[in-house]
Symmetry: C2
Subunit: 275 residues, 2 copies
Protein backbone atom coordinates (compact mmCIF):
# COMPACT_ATOMS: atom_id res chain seq x y z
CA UNK A 1 0.00 0.00 0.00
CA UNK A 2 1.41 3.34 -1.10
CA UNK A 3 1.17 5.59 1.95
CA UNK A 4 0.94 8.63 -0.35
CA UNK A 5 -1.82 7.18 -2.53
CA UNK A 6 -4.27 9.81 -1.25
CA UNK A 7 -1.87 12.75 -1.07
CA UNK A 8 -2.16 15.54 -3.63
CA UNK A 9 -0.12 18.70 -3.79
CA UNK A 10 -1.63 21.94 -4.98
CA UNK A 11 1.04 23.44 -7.17
CA UNK A 12 0.64 26.82 -5.45
CA UNK A 13 2.78 25.19 -2.73
CA UNK A 14 5.78 25.50 -5.08
CA UNK A 15 4.47 28.56 -6.92
CA UNK A 16 7.69 30.50 -7.04
CA UNK A 17 9.99 27.56 -7.74
CA UNK A 18 8.34 25.35 -10.35
CA UNK A 19 6.44 25.72 -13.60
CA UNK A 20 3.62 23.24 -14.20
CA UNK A 21 5.95 20.99 -16.19
CA UNK A 22 8.49 21.08 -13.38
CA UNK A 23 5.82 20.42 -10.75
CA UNK A 24 4.48 17.40 -12.64
CA UNK A 25 7.91 15.83 -12.94
CA UNK A 26 9.03 17.06 -9.51
CA UNK A 27 6.05 15.73 -7.56
CA UNK A 28 6.24 12.49 -9.57
CA UNK A 29 9.93 12.12 -8.78
CA UNK A 30 9.00 12.13 -5.07
CA UNK A 31 6.24 9.58 -5.52
CA UNK A 32 3.31 12.00 -5.53
CA UNK A 33 0.84 11.24 -8.29
CA UNK A 34 -1.84 13.85 -7.71
CA UNK A 35 -1.74 17.59 -8.27
CA UNK A 36 -3.99 20.61 -8.27
CA UNK A 37 -3.33 22.97 -11.15
CA UNK A 38 -3.48 26.76 -11.34
CA UNK A 39 -4.68 28.42 -14.50
CA UNK A 40 -1.81 30.85 -15.01
CA UNK A 41 0.64 27.98 -14.83
CA UNK A 42 -1.41 25.91 -17.27
CA UNK A 43 -1.74 28.73 -19.79
CA UNK A 44 1.99 29.36 -19.56
CA UNK A 45 2.64 25.77 -20.61
CA UNK A 46 -0.30 25.54 -23.00
CA UNK A 47 -3.56 23.74 -22.26
CA UNK A 48 -3.01 20.85 -24.69
CA UNK A 49 0.60 20.35 -23.66
CA UNK A 50 -0.37 20.51 -20.00
CA UNK A 51 -3.14 17.96 -20.48
CA UNK A 52 -0.74 15.66 -22.34
CA UNK A 53 1.97 15.93 -19.68
CA UNK A 54 -0.47 15.32 -16.83
CA UNK A 55 -1.87 12.30 -18.61
CA UNK A 56 1.52 10.89 -19.59
CA UNK A 57 2.73 11.24 -16.01
CA UNK A 58 -0.36 9.47 -14.70
CA UNK A 59 -1.24 12.45 -12.53
CA UNK A 60 -4.65 12.66 -10.92
CA UNK A 61 -5.77 16.29 -11.11
CA UNK A 62 -7.61 16.94 -7.87
CA UNK A 63 -8.55 20.50 -8.73
CA UNK A 64 -8.29 23.39 -11.16
CA UNK A 65 -7.86 26.81 -9.55
CA UNK A 66 -9.60 29.13 -9.33
CA UNK A 67 -12.95 30.07 -10.83
CA UNK A 68 -15.63 32.36 -9.57
CA UNK A 69 -15.06 35.99 -8.53
CA UNK A 70 -18.65 36.57 -9.57
CA UNK A 71 -19.72 39.33 -7.20
CA UNK A 72 -19.46 42.29 -9.60
CA UNK A 73 -22.44 44.64 -9.79
CA UNK A 74 -21.55 45.92 -13.25
CA UNK A 75 -23.29 43.77 -15.85
CA UNK A 76 -20.48 43.91 -18.39
CA UNK A 77 -17.95 42.82 -15.78
CA UNK A 78 -20.30 40.12 -14.54
CA UNK A 79 -20.86 38.73 -18.05
CA UNK A 80 -17.15 38.78 -18.75
CA UNK A 81 -16.54 36.83 -15.55
CA UNK A 82 -19.19 34.29 -16.52
CA UNK A 83 -17.56 33.77 -19.90
CA UNK A 84 -14.19 33.38 -18.28
CA UNK A 85 -15.58 30.79 -15.90
CA UNK A 86 -17.08 28.90 -18.85
CA UNK A 87 -13.64 28.78 -20.41
CA UNK A 88 -12.26 27.47 -17.13
CA UNK A 89 -14.88 24.72 -17.09
CA UNK A 90 -13.67 23.68 -20.53
CA UNK A 91 -10.06 23.84 -19.42
CA UNK A 92 -10.81 21.79 -16.30
CA UNK A 93 -12.46 19.22 -18.54
CA UNK A 94 -9.49 19.17 -20.91
CA UNK A 95 -7.04 18.37 -18.12
CA UNK A 96 -9.42 15.92 -16.46
CA UNK A 97 -9.68 17.82 -13.20
CA UNK A 98 -11.87 16.33 -10.49
CA UNK A 99 -13.30 19.77 -9.82
CA UNK A 100 -13.09 23.43 -10.69
CA UNK A 101 -12.49 25.25 -7.42
CA UNK A 102 -14.78 28.28 -7.27
CA UNK A 103 -14.65 31.23 -4.89
CA UNK A 104 -17.40 33.79 -4.64
CA UNK A 105 -15.53 37.05 -5.04
CA UNK A 106 -15.29 39.96 -2.66
CA UNK A 107 -16.78 43.41 -2.32
CA UNK A 108 -16.12 45.86 -5.11
CA UNK A 109 -14.25 49.06 -4.49
CA UNK A 110 -16.62 51.73 -3.33
CA UNK A 111 -19.32 49.27 -2.31
CA UNK A 112 -20.51 48.35 1.18
CA UNK A 113 -23.22 46.00 -0.03
CA UNK A 114 -22.19 42.58 1.22
CA UNK A 115 -25.71 41.20 0.82
CA UNK A 116 -25.82 42.35 -2.79
CA UNK A 117 -22.41 40.83 -3.49
CA UNK A 118 -23.59 37.53 -2.05
CA UNK A 119 -26.74 37.51 -4.17
CA UNK A 120 -24.73 38.32 -7.28
CA UNK A 121 -22.20 35.57 -6.65
CA UNK A 122 -24.97 33.04 -6.07
CA UNK A 123 -26.69 34.19 -9.25
CA UNK A 124 -23.45 33.71 -11.18
CA UNK A 125 -22.95 30.25 -9.71
CA UNK A 126 -26.48 29.29 -10.76
CA UNK A 127 -25.76 30.39 -14.32
CA UNK A 128 -22.63 28.22 -14.48
CA UNK A 129 -24.22 25.01 -13.25
CA UNK A 130 -25.66 23.96 -16.65
CA UNK A 131 -22.24 24.44 -18.25
CA UNK A 132 -20.57 22.36 -15.54
CA UNK A 133 -23.20 19.64 -15.93
CA UNK A 134 -22.78 19.60 -19.71
CA UNK A 135 -19.00 19.35 -19.38
CA UNK A 136 -19.15 16.72 -16.67
CA UNK A 137 -17.22 18.97 -14.32
CA UNK A 138 -17.90 19.38 -10.62
CA UNK A 139 -17.75 22.94 -9.33
CA UNK A 140 -16.08 22.86 -5.93
CA UNK A 141 -17.56 25.79 -4.05
CA UNK A 142 -15.02 26.89 -1.47
CA UNK A 143 -15.88 29.20 1.41
CA UNK A 144 -12.83 31.25 2.35
CA UNK A 145 -11.72 32.64 5.69
CA UNK A 146 -13.69 35.71 6.81
CA UNK A 147 -10.49 37.76 6.76
CA UNK A 148 -10.60 37.70 2.94
CA UNK A 149 -14.32 38.46 2.77
CA UNK A 150 -13.68 41.89 1.33
CA UNK A 151 -10.95 40.79 -1.09
CA UNK A 152 -11.89 37.35 -2.33
CA UNK A 153 -15.00 35.74 -0.96
CA UNK A 154 -18.23 37.00 0.52
CA UNK A 155 -18.96 33.31 1.04
CA UNK A 156 -17.45 33.08 4.51
CA UNK A 157 -18.77 29.90 6.08
CA UNK A 158 -19.50 26.27 5.27
CA UNK A 159 -23.02 26.85 6.50
CA UNK A 160 -23.56 29.45 3.78
CA UNK A 161 -22.01 27.13 1.17
CA UNK A 162 -24.46 24.42 2.22
CA UNK A 163 -27.30 26.93 2.11
CA UNK A 164 -26.37 27.94 -1.45
CA UNK A 165 -26.22 24.32 -2.59
CA UNK A 166 -29.71 23.73 -1.21
CA UNK A 167 -31.15 26.97 -2.50
CA UNK A 168 -29.84 26.30 -5.99
CA UNK A 169 -31.25 22.78 -5.96
CA UNK A 170 -28.03 21.66 -7.61
CA UNK A 171 -27.18 18.10 -8.52
CA UNK A 172 -23.83 16.35 -8.55
CA UNK A 173 -22.28 19.15 -10.59
CA UNK A 174 -22.00 21.28 -7.44
CA UNK A 175 -19.68 20.19 -4.67
CA UNK A 176 -18.03 21.84 -1.69
CA UNK A 177 -14.29 22.20 -1.13
CA UNK A 178 -13.31 22.08 2.55
CA UNK A 179 -10.03 23.83 3.31
CA UNK A 180 -9.01 23.50 6.94
CA UNK A 181 -7.29 26.90 6.85
CA UNK A 182 -10.54 28.60 5.97
CA UNK A 183 -12.89 26.80 8.34
CA UNK A 184 -10.98 25.57 11.40
CA UNK A 185 -12.19 28.45 13.63
CA UNK A 186 -15.90 27.81 12.91
CA UNK A 187 -17.98 26.72 15.93
CA UNK A 188 -20.37 24.97 13.52
CA UNK A 189 -17.64 23.09 11.68
CA UNK A 190 -18.62 19.53 12.64
CA UNK A 191 -22.29 20.15 11.99
CA UNK A 192 -21.72 21.76 8.59
CA UNK A 193 -19.23 19.14 7.41
CA UNK A 194 -21.75 16.45 8.28
CA UNK A 195 -24.41 18.43 6.45
CA UNK A 196 -22.20 18.80 3.37
CA UNK A 197 -21.86 15.01 3.31
CA UNK A 198 -21.31 13.63 -0.15
CA UNK A 199 -21.09 17.12 -1.60
CA UNK A 200 -17.55 17.37 -0.29
CA UNK A 201 -15.42 17.10 -3.41
CA UNK A 202 -12.06 18.32 -2.13
CA UNK A 203 -10.18 18.50 1.15
CA UNK A 204 -7.36 21.04 1.43
CA UNK A 205 -4.80 21.04 4.20
CA UNK A 206 -2.22 23.48 5.57
CA UNK A 207 -1.85 25.04 9.01
CA UNK A 208 -2.60 28.30 10.81
CA UNK A 209 0.57 29.86 12.20
CA UNK A 210 0.24 31.47 15.63
CA UNK A 211 2.16 34.49 14.34
CA UNK A 212 0.38 34.82 10.99
CA UNK A 213 1.51 38.02 9.26
CA UNK A 214 -0.46 38.16 6.06
CA UNK A 215 -4.11 37.67 5.17
CA UNK A 216 -3.42 35.50 2.14
CA UNK A 217 0.17 34.38 1.75
CA UNK A 218 1.33 33.22 5.15
CA UNK A 219 -0.02 29.73 5.56
CA UNK A 220 1.91 27.16 7.53
CA UNK A 221 3.02 23.61 6.84
CA UNK A 222 0.93 20.97 8.59
CA UNK A 223 2.21 20.59 12.14
CA UNK A 224 3.57 24.12 12.42
CA UNK A 225 0.33 25.68 13.62
CA UNK A 226 -2.77 25.31 15.73
CA UNK A 227 -5.17 23.35 13.51
CA UNK A 228 -6.13 19.82 14.54
CA UNK A 229 -6.05 18.61 10.94
CA UNK A 230 -6.56 14.94 11.74
CA UNK A 231 -9.75 15.72 13.56
CA UNK A 232 -11.14 17.64 10.60
CA UNK A 233 -10.03 14.89 8.21
CA UNK A 234 -11.98 12.43 10.32
CA UNK A 235 -15.02 14.70 10.07
CA UNK A 236 -14.93 14.82 6.26
CA UNK A 237 -14.35 11.07 6.05
CA UNK A 238 -17.21 10.37 8.40
CA UNK A 239 -19.32 12.60 6.17
CA UNK A 240 -18.50 10.31 3.26
CA UNK A 241 -15.46 11.88 1.64
CA UNK A 242 -12.94 9.30 0.43
CA UNK A 243 -10.80 11.46 -1.83
CA UNK A 244 -7.40 13.06 -1.60
CA UNK A 245 -5.93 15.34 1.01
CA UNK A 246 -4.56 18.21 -1.02
CA UNK A 247 -1.74 20.24 0.47
CA UNK A 248 -2.22 23.92 -0.43
CA UNK A 249 0.29 26.31 1.11
CA UNK A 250 0.64 29.97 0.19
CA UNK A 251 3.82 31.06 1.94
CA UNK A 252 5.77 34.12 0.93
CA UNK A 253 8.03 34.12 3.95
CA UNK A 254 8.92 30.47 4.04
CA UNK A 255 7.93 27.67 1.68
CA UNK A 256 8.02 29.67 -1.54
CA UNK A 257 11.65 30.50 -0.74
CA UNK A 258 12.86 26.96 -0.15
CA UNK A 259 14.33 24.29 -2.40
CA UNK A 260 11.19 22.71 -3.93
CA UNK A 261 12.47 19.17 -3.49
CA UNK A 262 12.82 19.87 0.22
CA UNK A 263 9.32 21.32 0.27
CA UNK A 264 7.87 18.16 -1.25
CA UNK A 265 9.77 15.92 1.16
CA UNK A 266 8.55 18.04 4.06
CA UNK A 267 4.98 17.80 2.76
CA UNK A 268 5.28 14.00 2.72
CA UNK A 269 6.69 13.86 6.22
CA UNK A 270 4.09 16.18 7.68
CA UNK A 271 1.28 14.45 5.81
CA UNK A 272 2.21 11.19 7.53
CA UNK A 273 2.37 12.82 10.96
CA UNK A 274 -0.40 15.42 10.96
CA UNK A 275 -3.01 14.56 8.31
Amino acid sequence: MDEYAKLSINQITTRDQWSLAEAITGYGRHGIHAISVWRDKLLELGIREGARMLSDAGMTVTGYCVGGLLSARDDAVFQERLEDNRRMIEEASTIGAECLVLIAGGIEEGSRDIDGARERAKEGLALLLPDARAAGIIIGLEPLHPMVCSLRSVLTTLEMANDWCEELGAGDELGIAVDVYNVWWDPNLAREIARAGNRICAFHVSDWLADTRDLRFDRGMMGDGVIDIEKIREMVETAGYAGYSEVEIFSERNWWRKNPDDVVETVKDRYRRYV
Copy 2:
Protein backbone atom coordinates in the same frame (compact mmCIF):
# COMPACT_ATOMS: atom_id res chain seq x y z
CA MET B 1 -29.71 68.27 20.94
CA ASP B 2 -26.03 67.45 21.08
CA GLU B 3 -25.33 65.42 17.95
CA TYR B 4 -22.44 63.72 19.75
CA ALA B 5 -24.48 62.80 22.84
CA LYS B 6 -24.20 59.09 21.97
CA LEU B 7 -20.62 59.09 20.68
CA SER B 8 -17.90 57.52 22.76
CA ILE B 9 -14.25 57.16 21.86
CA ASN B 10 -12.25 54.15 22.95
CA GLN B 11 -8.94 55.58 24.02
CA ILE B 12 -7.07 52.96 22.00
CA THR B 13 -7.92 55.22 19.05
CA THR B 14 -5.31 57.67 20.33
CA ARG B 15 -3.15 55.06 22.02
CA ASP B 16 0.20 56.35 20.88
CA GLN B 17 -0.57 60.03 21.30
CA TRP B 18 -2.42 60.51 24.57
CA SER B 19 -2.25 59.30 28.13
CA LEU B 20 -5.58 58.76 29.91
CA ALA B 21 -5.40 62.22 31.42
CA GLU B 22 -4.74 63.74 28.00
CA ALA B 23 -7.53 61.69 26.40
CA ILE B 24 -10.05 62.79 29.03
CA THR B 25 -9.24 66.46 28.53
CA GLY B 26 -8.67 66.04 24.78
CA TYR B 27 -11.95 64.31 24.02
CA GLY B 28 -13.75 66.74 26.32
CA ARG B 29 -12.20 69.70 24.53
CA HIS B 30 -13.80 68.46 21.31
CA GLY B 31 -17.19 67.97 22.93
CA ILE B 32 -16.98 64.22 23.46
CA HIS B 33 -18.14 63.18 26.89
CA ALA B 34 -17.80 59.40 26.78
CA ILE B 35 -14.70 57.25 26.71
CA SER B 36 -13.66 53.64 26.95
CA VAL B 37 -10.59 53.10 29.14
CA TRP B 38 -7.69 50.67 28.81
CA ARG B 39 -6.17 49.18 31.89
CA ASP B 40 -2.51 49.96 31.17
CA LYS B 41 -3.42 53.61 30.70
CA LEU B 42 -5.46 53.67 33.90
CA LEU B 43 -2.72 52.03 35.96
CA GLU B 44 -0.19 54.50 34.54
CA LEU B 45 -2.29 57.39 35.88
CA GLY B 46 -3.41 55.59 39.03
CA ILE B 47 -6.85 54.09 39.57
CA ARG B 48 -8.05 56.65 42.12
CA GLU B 49 -6.72 59.59 40.16
CA GLY B 50 -8.23 58.21 36.97
CA ALA B 51 -11.60 57.73 38.61
CA ARG B 52 -11.46 61.27 39.97
CA MET B 53 -10.52 62.82 36.63
CA LEU B 54 -13.21 60.88 34.75
CA SER B 55 -15.80 61.94 37.28
CA ASP B 56 -14.70 65.58 37.41
CA ALA B 57 -14.80 65.76 33.61
CA GLY B 58 -18.30 64.29 33.55
CA MET B 59 -17.14 61.44 31.34
CA THR B 60 -19.36 58.44 30.80
CA VAL B 61 -17.14 55.36 30.79
CA THR B 62 -18.63 53.06 28.17
CA GLY B 63 -16.16 50.26 28.74
CA TYR B 64 -13.07 49.04 30.53
CA CYS B 65 -10.65 47.00 28.39
CA VAL B 66 -9.92 44.22 28.37
CA GLY B 67 -10.62 41.25 30.64
CA GLY B 68 -10.73 37.57 29.89
CA LEU B 69 -7.93 35.60 28.23
CA LEU B 70 -9.20 32.65 30.19
CA SER B 71 -8.37 29.75 27.88
CA ALA B 72 -5.22 28.48 29.62
CA ARG B 73 -5.04 24.74 30.35
CA ASP B 74 -2.55 25.14 33.16
CA ASP B 75 -4.40 25.52 36.46
CA ALA B 76 -1.97 27.96 38.01
CA VAL B 77 -2.15 30.21 34.95
CA PHE B 78 -5.92 29.89 34.86
CA GLN B 79 -6.27 30.83 38.55
CA GLU B 80 -3.93 33.77 38.08
CA ARG B 81 -6.04 34.98 35.17
CA LEU B 82 -9.20 34.65 37.25
CA GLU B 83 -7.68 36.72 40.04
CA ASP B 84 -6.56 39.34 37.56
CA ASN B 85 -10.06 39.51 36.12
CA ARG B 86 -11.48 39.95 39.60
CA ARG B 87 -9.18 42.91 40.07
CA MET B 88 -10.39 44.30 36.76
CA ILE B 89 -14.00 43.98 37.89
CA GLU B 90 -13.10 46.07 40.94
CA GLU B 91 -11.28 48.61 38.80
CA ALA B 92 -14.20 48.82 36.38
CA SER B 93 -16.45 49.47 39.36
CA THR B 94 -14.12 52.15 40.72
CA ILE B 95 -14.16 54.13 37.47
CA GLY B 96 -17.89 53.57 36.97
CA ALA B 97 -17.54 51.70 33.69
CA GLU B 98 -20.72 50.54 32.00
CA CYS B 99 -19.08 47.20 31.29
CA LEU B 100 -15.88 45.23 31.51
CA VAL B 101 -15.10 44.09 27.99
CA LEU B 102 -14.10 40.43 28.08
CA ILE B 103 -12.43 38.35 25.38
CA ALA B 104 -12.10 34.60 25.58
CA GLY B 105 -8.40 34.10 24.93
CA GLY B 106 -6.72 32.12 22.18
CA ILE B 107 -5.00 28.79 21.80
CA GLU B 108 -1.92 28.20 23.89
CA GLU B 109 1.41 27.57 22.28
CA GLY B 110 1.80 23.91 21.49
CA SER B 111 -1.91 23.20 21.67
CA ARG B 112 -4.33 22.35 18.87
CA ASP B 113 -7.31 21.89 21.16
CA ILE B 114 -9.75 24.62 20.17
CA ASP B 115 -12.68 22.80 21.80
CA GLY B 116 -10.78 22.53 25.07
CA ALA B 117 -9.83 26.21 24.95
CA ARG B 118 -13.46 27.14 24.42
CA GLU B 119 -14.62 25.04 27.35
CA ARG B 120 -11.94 26.53 29.57
CA ALA B 121 -12.84 30.09 28.65
CA LYS B 122 -16.51 29.45 29.27
CA GLU B 123 -15.66 27.87 32.62
CA GLY B 124 -13.63 30.95 33.54
CA LEU B 125 -16.45 33.24 32.51
CA ALA B 126 -18.87 31.29 34.69
CA LEU B 127 -16.56 31.69 37.68
CA LEU B 128 -16.44 35.47 37.21
CA LEU B 129 -20.17 36.06 36.99
CA PRO B 130 -20.79 36.09 40.78
CA ASP B 131 -18.01 38.67 41.20
CA ALA B 132 -19.49 40.84 38.48
CA ARG B 133 -22.93 40.56 40.01
CA ALA B 134 -21.63 41.46 43.44
CA ALA B 135 -19.79 44.48 42.07
CA GLY B 136 -22.71 45.61 39.92
CA ILE B 137 -20.57 45.35 36.81
CA ILE B 138 -21.73 44.02 33.46
CA ILE B 139 -19.29 41.74 31.68
CA GLY B 140 -19.40 42.58 27.99
CA LEU B 141 -18.52 39.35 26.22
CA GLU B 142 -17.02 40.25 22.87
CA PRO B 143 -16.57 37.73 20.08
CA LEU B 144 -13.55 38.68 18.00
CA HIS B 145 -12.83 38.20 14.31
CA PRO B 146 -11.91 34.60 13.38
CA MET B 147 -8.52 35.81 12.19
CA VAL B 148 -7.49 36.32 15.82
CA CYS B 149 -8.95 33.01 16.98
CA SER B 150 -5.51 31.59 17.66
CA LEU B 151 -4.11 34.73 19.28
CA ARG B 152 -6.91 36.30 21.24
CA SER B 153 -10.32 34.71 21.10
CA VAL B 154 -11.60 31.23 20.47
CA LEU B 155 -15.02 32.87 20.73
CA THR B 156 -15.37 33.68 17.04
CA THR B 157 -19.04 34.39 16.41
CA LEU B 158 -22.00 36.20 17.92
CA GLU B 159 -23.90 32.93 17.72
CA MET B 160 -21.40 31.31 20.06
CA ALA B 161 -21.56 34.32 22.42
CA ASN B 162 -25.33 33.97 22.54
CA ASP B 163 -24.96 30.23 23.13
CA TRP B 164 -22.61 30.84 26.06
CA CYS B 165 -24.98 33.37 27.63
CA GLU B 166 -27.80 30.84 27.42
CA GLU B 167 -25.74 27.90 28.61
CA LEU B 168 -24.49 29.86 31.62
CA GLY B 169 -28.00 30.94 32.51
CA ALA B 170 -26.57 34.36 33.28
CA GLY B 171 -28.55 37.36 34.41
CA ASP B 172 -28.01 41.03 33.69
CA GLU B 173 -24.38 40.78 34.75
CA LEU B 174 -23.51 39.23 31.40
CA GLY B 175 -23.86 41.27 28.25
CA ILE B 176 -22.54 41.09 24.71
CA ALA B 177 -20.32 43.67 23.02
CA VAL B 178 -20.95 43.97 19.29
CA ASP B 179 -17.98 45.30 17.34
CA VAL B 180 -18.72 45.76 13.65
CA TYR B 181 -15.11 45.00 12.72
CA ASN B 182 -15.37 41.56 14.27
CA VAL B 183 -18.78 40.51 12.99
CA TRP B 184 -19.57 42.30 9.71
CA TRP B 185 -18.69 39.26 7.55
CA ASP B 186 -21.06 36.91 9.42
CA PRO B 187 -23.96 35.52 7.35
CA ASN B 188 -25.93 35.12 10.59
CA LEU B 189 -25.31 38.66 11.78
CA ALA B 190 -28.88 39.97 11.67
CA ARG B 191 -30.29 36.84 13.31
CA GLU B 192 -27.73 36.79 16.10
CA ILE B 193 -27.97 40.51 16.86
CA ALA B 194 -31.74 40.10 17.17
CA ARG B 195 -31.16 37.09 19.40
CA ALA B 196 -28.73 39.03 21.60
CA GLY B 197 -31.45 41.63 22.12
CA ASN B 198 -31.17 43.43 25.42
CA ARG B 199 -27.93 41.64 26.22
CA ILE B 200 -26.14 44.03 23.88
CA CYS B 201 -24.22 46.29 26.24
CA ALA B 202 -21.76 47.94 23.87
CA PHE B 203 -21.53 48.81 20.19
CA HIS B 204 -18.08 49.38 18.73
CA VAL B 205 -17.44 50.94 15.35
CA SER B 206 -14.53 51.21 12.94
CA ASP B 207 -14.12 50.04 9.35
CA TRP B 208 -12.56 47.17 7.42
CA LEU B 209 -9.98 48.44 4.94
CA ALA B 210 -9.93 46.70 1.56
CA ASP B 211 -6.14 46.48 1.75
CA THR B 212 -5.89 45.41 5.40
CA ARG B 213 -2.28 44.55 6.22
CA ASP B 214 -2.33 43.40 9.82
CA LEU B 215 -4.52 41.03 11.80
CA ARG B 216 -4.90 43.34 14.78
CA PHE B 217 -3.62 46.86 14.25
CA ASP B 218 -4.87 47.98 10.86
CA ARG B 219 -8.45 49.04 11.39
CA GLY B 220 -9.92 51.82 9.33
CA MET B 221 -11.83 54.99 10.16
CA MET B 222 -15.57 54.74 9.52
CA GLY B 223 -16.19 55.44 5.85
CA ASP B 224 -12.78 54.28 4.66
CA GLY B 225 -13.75 50.65 4.27
CA VAL B 226 -16.42 48.18 3.24
CA ILE B 227 -18.63 47.86 6.33
CA ASP B 228 -22.19 49.16 6.17
CA ILE B 229 -22.02 50.49 9.71
CA GLU B 230 -25.37 52.26 9.64
CA LYS B 231 -27.10 49.04 8.76
CA ILE B 232 -25.53 47.21 11.69
CA ARG B 233 -26.32 50.13 14.00
CA GLU B 234 -29.94 49.84 12.94
CA MET B 235 -29.84 46.12 13.75
CA VAL B 236 -28.58 46.68 17.30
CA GLU B 237 -31.06 49.48 17.87
CA THR B 238 -33.91 47.34 16.60
CA ALA B 239 -32.72 44.66 19.02
CA GLY B 240 -33.18 47.14 21.86
CA TYR B 241 -29.77 48.77 22.26
CA ALA B 242 -29.98 52.47 23.03
CA GLY B 243 -26.44 53.11 24.21
CA TYR B 244 -23.35 54.71 22.76
CA SER B 245 -21.54 54.05 19.52
CA GLU B 246 -17.94 53.65 20.63
CA VAL B 247 -15.23 54.32 18.08
CA GLU B 248 -12.40 51.82 18.54
CA ILE B 249 -9.60 52.04 16.00
CA PHE B 250 -6.31 50.17 16.23
CA SER B 251 -4.19 51.70 13.46
CA GLU B 252 -0.44 51.46 13.40
CA ARG B 253 -0.04 52.76 9.88
CA ASN B 254 -2.39 55.69 10.06
CA TRP B 255 -4.41 57.02 12.99
CA TRP B 256 -1.86 56.31 15.71
CA ARG B 257 0.57 58.48 13.76
CA LYS B 258 -1.64 61.53 13.36
CA ASN B 259 -2.22 64.60 15.44
CA PRO B 260 -4.75 63.41 18.04
CA ASP B 261 -6.89 66.53 17.77
CA ASP B 262 -7.24 65.82 14.06
CA VAL B 263 -8.11 62.21 14.83
CA VAL B 264 -10.93 63.28 17.17
CA GLU B 265 -12.30 65.79 14.65
CA THR B 266 -12.21 63.10 11.95
CA VAL B 267 -14.01 60.69 14.29
CA LYS B 268 -16.76 63.27 14.79
CA ASP B 269 -17.10 63.94 11.07
CA ARG B 270 -17.21 60.28 10.14
CA TYR B 271 -19.58 59.45 12.98
CA ARG B 272 -22.07 61.93 11.55
CA ARG B 273 -21.75 60.55 8.04
CA TYR B 274 -21.30 56.80 8.49
CA VAL B 275 -22.66 55.72 11.88
